[in-house]
């Protein structure tokens, strides 16, 4: 059985990302804090005796369910999905070049000396705001894969969908983010 210290360390390691991820979804700090707290308590109550290696997947699953429950409770889920899906329609990538965006990223986020602290903060805020604007499923897949660093199978297990869907969502999310950031005139 895992110790209290292990559980504490685990919660400490995920709480900030869990909070931000929930804020992107519910767009309210207070609601996000409540949801994260609910997920933490549920994990502690039901799964504290499970091996600690299982916690990351369990916690993300609990968090996703808690977030969905929040939407159900608020009875705004449909409205939110509809609003976000308006954004999803932009599949006409045309000749948009992802590599070009990556090159600009190389020259900015990757190298601290290229930008001053203020513009860096602005860029990070923009990245965050565009992530929040992604359609819910794309955002979830993107964050699980590239922020929580789950593999495709794990992300699929958390999201309750196929691995192919996760890959599609991730790819669309990256393209949408790159395109939206470039449209903001961010050369990152």
């Amino acid at each position: 059985m895992a110790s209290d210290k292990e559980l504490s360390d685990f919660l400490k390691s995920v709480e900030k990302r869990a909070f931000k991820r929930t804020v992107y979804a519910v767009r309210s700090d207070d609601a996000a804090l409540d949801i994260v707290q609910e997920a933490m308590i549920k994990l502690a109550e039901k799964y504290a005796d499970r091996p600690s290696a299982e916690w990351p997947l369990l916690f993300q699953r609990i968090l996703s369910n808690a977030t969905m429950d929040w939407f159900r409770r608020e009875k705004v889920r449909n409205a939110v999905i509809q609003n976000l899906s308006d954004f999803e329609g932009a599949d006409d990538d045309g000749d948009f070049d992802l590599l070009e965006m990556l090159n600009t990223l190389d020259g900015s986020l990757g190298t601290e000396s290229a930008l001053d602290t203020v513009s860096r903060t602005q860029i990070l805020t923009a990245v965050e705001s565009e992530v929040a604007e992604l359609p819910a499923r794309q955002r979830e897949a993107f964050l699980l894969r590239y922020w929580e660093e789950f593999d495709v199978a794990e992300a699929a297990a958390v999201m309750g969908c196929s691995e192919g869907s996760v890959k599609t969502h991730c790819s669309r999310a990256v393209h949408a983010l790159a395109k939206a950031l470039r449209a903001r005139g961010i050369t990152l």
Partner: protein, 156 residues
């Protein structure tokens, strides 16, 4: 998207871009306001307290059950000794038998009480019959059709 770019290249570019965006998000998540950090800490502590409480509750019934187990084990050991002190499996069998003993005594007691009650009823009915047969026959009895029929019937 550049059509000349091959799929593996594209996936690699996507992964690199995504990793960089993820790093940006991580950096941003590290800059949470103090009050949010405090609330997260409080939530974590509450969760840990809950986990400890659940563990305590799960342990409590076990502790209560222990003396009973010890008693049964002792009884079983005594019976096993009476039966010649056989192996571990035999001791288990005796333990189970000893646990069933109170139930067996209860069932036997109930059967005994029922048998006693039946005998009491038969005894009471016999007493009434004896009294009736020993008593003088009232004259009205001869006018009773049932009694006349009884007299006509041959003795068994």
């Amino acid at each position: 998207m550049n059509p000349r770019r091959r799929l593996p290249d594209l996936q690699a570019i996507e992964a690199r871009l995504a990793a960089r965006l993820g790093a940006g998000l991580t950096e941003r998540a590290g800059q949470l306001p103090h009050d949010v950090n405090e609330r997260l800490r409080a939530a974590r502590e509450q969760a840990l307290a809950r986990a400890a409480e659940v563990r305590r509750t799960a342990r409590r019934p076990q502790v209560a059950a222990e003396p009973a187990v010890v008693e049964i084990t002792r009884g079983g050991a005594a019976l096993a000794a009476l039966g010649g002190g056989q192996g571990h499996g035999s001791a288990r069998w005796w333990e189970r038998a000893a646990a069933m003993l109170p139930l067996l005594v209860l069932v036997c007691g109930l059967l005994l009480i029922q048998r006693q009650a039946e005998l009491e009823q038969v005894r009471a009915a016999a007493e009434v019959d004896v009294l009736l047969l020993a008593d003088d026959l009232p004259p009205d009895a001869y006018s009773d059709p049932g009694f006349a029929e009884f007299l006509r019937e041959p003795a068994p």
